[in-house]
């Protein structure tokens, strides 16, 4: 083959360009820490990485839902345990009242029951953040007051995202117990309200109505059991949330490592390749430099001067 001047320069240029490009790519991968800097680097991996990123964002959203539900559930749990204490105090008071003698003792016991009622109403208006937890979905205003012991009767549940929507439970959890869930209970075939029963007990003690007082002792026992039951319901939700949280954490870690495999630079590998590319580039530069002397005119010149 006839070798001409342009051929040599074209070839040298192409080789140097290709090697420069390789070096630039590798050093970019090492510097940025990611192998994918645009979709065309690997379209499939790029799309996978996007989907995983969206999944990770969703997991964060789910974890925030779980945190919210857990916080709410803990607030509910502590309100319920205090409430059960109050009911049992009311029951103790009723037992004392049943054997009470004299009006002054009755008045003391009646005011004790009133104090219990006051505390119970306060618990019924417990808040998590600025939301009333026993108000159904109408969480912005206090559901109970001394004048309204039946509450707002809002039976809606607050559904919060605690999983992906393809999960068997639709990925959501009802975080709240409504006022009726907590304060309504059945005793002797009747549906009663805990607060009204306590209030009625106060009236009965005041009026010395011993028949009502003694029936209230049993009724309050049923109320106590009901509230304990609701605590169990709430506790079950909390432990399910804890399980869900650790499951989501595991999935999050898995997705993170998949994402890292997709887009993170294998620094050792890239550095070795960069080293190779640099060596090849230096060799190419040296060869290009030699081309300058490899021709007849320069031989003739060096011969005549030397």
């Amino acid at each position: 083959m006839r070798i001409t001047l342009n051929m040599q320069t074209n070839e040298a240029l192409l080789t140097l360009n290709n090697q420069q490009e390789q070096i630039t790519n590798l050093s970019q991968q090492i510097a940025s820490g990611v192998t994918l800097s645009s979709p065309s680097d690997d379209p499939y991996d790029w799309a996978q990485a996007m989907n995983i990123n969206q999944g990770l964002q969703e997991y964060n959203s789910i974890l925030s839902g779980i945190n919210f539900a857990t916080g709410w559930g803990q607030a509910t749990g502590s309100a319920l345990s205090q409430l059960s204490n109050l009911v049992s105090q009311a029951q103790q008071t009723a037992i004392s009242a049943a054997s009470a003698t004299g009006t002054s003792q009755s008045a003391t016991l009646a005011s004790e029951v009133n104090g219990i009622l006051q505390q119970a109403v306060n618990l019924a208006n417990s808040q998590y953040g600025d939301q009333y937890i026993f108000a159904g979905a109408s969480t912005t205003s206090a559901p109970y007051s001394m004048d309204n012991l039946t509450g707002n009767n809002d039976s809606n549940y607050i559904q919060v995202k605690t999983g992906t929507s393809d999960a068997s439970d639709g990925g959501s959890t009802a975080v709240n117990l409504t006022g009726n869930d907590v304060f309504s209970f059945t005793s002797g075939g009747n549906t009663l309200n805990v607060l009204q029963v306590i209030s009625g007990l106060g009236q009965a003690i005041q009026n010395g109505d011993s028949a009502t007082i003694s029936s209230d002792i049993d009724t309050l026992n049923d109320a106590y059991n009901h509230i304990t039951n609701e605590s169990v319901v709430n506790g079950t939700m909390l432990s399910a949330l804890t399980n869900q949280q650790s499951a989501i954490n595991v999935m999050q870690t898995n997705e993170q490592s998949t994402l890292s495999k997709l887009q993170d630079t294998d620094v050792a590998d890239a550095t070795t390749k960069l080293q190779q590319a640099q060596t090849a580039f230096q060799a190419a530069l040296q060869v290009t430099g030699m081309l300058d002397n490899l021709n007849l005119p320069s031989y003739l010149t060096s011969n005549s001067t030397g």
Partner: protein
């Protein structure tokens, strides 16, 4: 005496011949790196012999013509490779800028805004009447709308620049077509059966090479006039652009379906871009429809268009509004917030018939763009090496080899010195004879 005179004549002609050859070599060396230059050779032929009593005696040599080294077959192949190379170079350049305009790694861009949007609805479900949760949804919806719109605007900006670039390329091609026709005329005027106007031919090859970078080119040469006929290809097949002395410029209709060269690359990029924009519109309009369907029915299950979260019709006009917050009760808002949040991993049927989650649809757009760019890049690097290979072959035939020219010059120098010696000798012999006469 006759013999000596002829010897002197031959010597003189030899001196002239070697000077012509050295000039040719000098011209070659001087054009060694000139683009489009083909190495020239002074073709030397023996003069007719004279019949003398001693037999046929030679009378020296003449330079009969200066030829250039060209292989038309190689030139045609090189032009094809140039068309392909510049087609994929321009396609890759265009698509790469489209790719960075629409780039969405999942950490940023529309995906991120989409994730935030769903996250905000999930938070709203926790506290539907909370002011900060409500504001969060509105600002996330606004963020999503503006991310979609800004991507659309970036793509649209490239789309509006494309016709100008295409027209520019067509104008350049038309100028080259006119130039080739002019050169055809000039070559036909200067061509004789033995002499060809090498520099004009170089200029015409250069013009054809430039044209081949813009549109596909194939040519055939008329051996008597030296003119070339040039055709290009569009969707309807072969399209003549130069016919002898006449250039046939590309028109808007003939140029719109050119299938190669820079113009072909631009046209493909334009088609692809239109596709991406329509996918983005499908994404935006479907998401708007799905979200609005839920929010518009949030109040008591009745359809109320005033409760739409998004306004507008497609990616160019998507906007977010706050009106969806006023009307529904907290419980209604909470359940619609939850339903909208669930869209994040629901299979949704998009207007183009695809069934995917919103994020999958987005990542699919990115994958399509990435695939197109990757394909263009692969083709470009393939045709780049093919072009270099053919250029090497073409250079091997037509290029200037400095070594060869130096050898020629050394040879010419020796011939020149020998001829001068012959003249000197003949001159001495003649003066010997002249001195015998006096």
């Amino acid at each position: 005496m006759a013999g000596l005179n002829v010897t002197l004549d031959i010597g003189l002609q030899t001196l002239q011949n070697t000077q012509t050859e050295i000039q040719t070599a000098s011209n070659n060396i001087s054009n060694a790196s000139t683009a489009g230059y083909a190495t020239e050779t002074a073709v030397q032929t023996a003069n007719p012999a004279i019949l003398t009593p001693s037999g046929w005696l030679g009378t020296g040599a003449t330079i009969s013509q200066i030829t250039q080294a060209r292989d038309q077959f190689l030139e045609q192949q090189l032009m094809n490779a140039m068309s392909d190379d510049s087609q994929y170079t321009s396609l890759s350049t265009q698509l790469t800028s489209i790719q960075s305009a629409s780039s969405d790694s999942g950490d940023d861009g529309i995906s991120q805004a989409l994730g935030n949007f769903f996250d905000a609805w999930n938070t709203l479900a926790q506290n539907p009447t909370g002011l900060s949760e409500q504001t969060g949804v509105y600002s996330a919806a606004q963020g999503l709308a503006s991310a979609v719109q800004s991507t659309y605007n970036q793509l649209n900006q490239i789309a509006t620049q494309m016709p100008g670039q295409i027209q520019n390329t067509v104008d350049q091609a038309n100028a080259l077509i006119a130039k080739i026709a002019q050169l055809n005329t000039a070559i036909a005027q200067n061509q004789t059966p033995t002499c060809q106007p090498n520099d004009l031919i170089d200029a015409r090859y250069q013009a054809m090479d430039s044209l081949a970078q813009l549109i596909p080119v194939s040519f055939s040469q008329d051996p008597t006039t030296g003119m070339v006929n040039v055709t290009t290809t569009n969707a309807n097949g072969s399209l003549p652009v130069v016919s002898g002395a006449t250039g046939i410029p590309l028109t808007a209709s003939t140029s719109s379906t050119i299938t190669g060269g820079q113009l072909g690359g631009l046209l493909t990029a334009q088609t692809n871009l239109t596709g991406y924009i329509s996918q983005l519109n499908d994404f935006a309009s479907t998401l708007m429809l799905q979200v609005n369907n839920i929010s518009e029915e949030s109040e008591g299950g009745n359809l109320n268009p005033a409760l739409a979260v998004f306004g507008g019709t497609d990616a160019s006009s998507i906007t977010a509004s706050t009106s969806f917050l006023s009307g529904p009760t907290g419980a209604e808002l909470s359940s619609s917030a939850q339903a909208i949040g669930d869209l994040q991993d629901s299979q949704v049927t998009f207007t183009d018939g695809t069934s995917a989650t919103p994020e999958q649809y987005l990542s699919n757009i990115q994958q399509t763009v990435g695939d197109d760019v990757q394909q263009a890049n692969n083709n470009q690097s393939f045709y780049d090496s093919l072009q270099t290979q053919l250029q090497t072959q073409q250079e091997s035939v037509s290029g200037v080899s400095i070594d060869q020219e130096m050898i020629n010059v050394i040879q010419d120098q020796q011939v020149y010195e020998a001829a001068a010696k012959v003249i000197e000798t003949a001159s001495t012999l003649m003066s010997t004879i002249t001195s015998m006469i006096t």
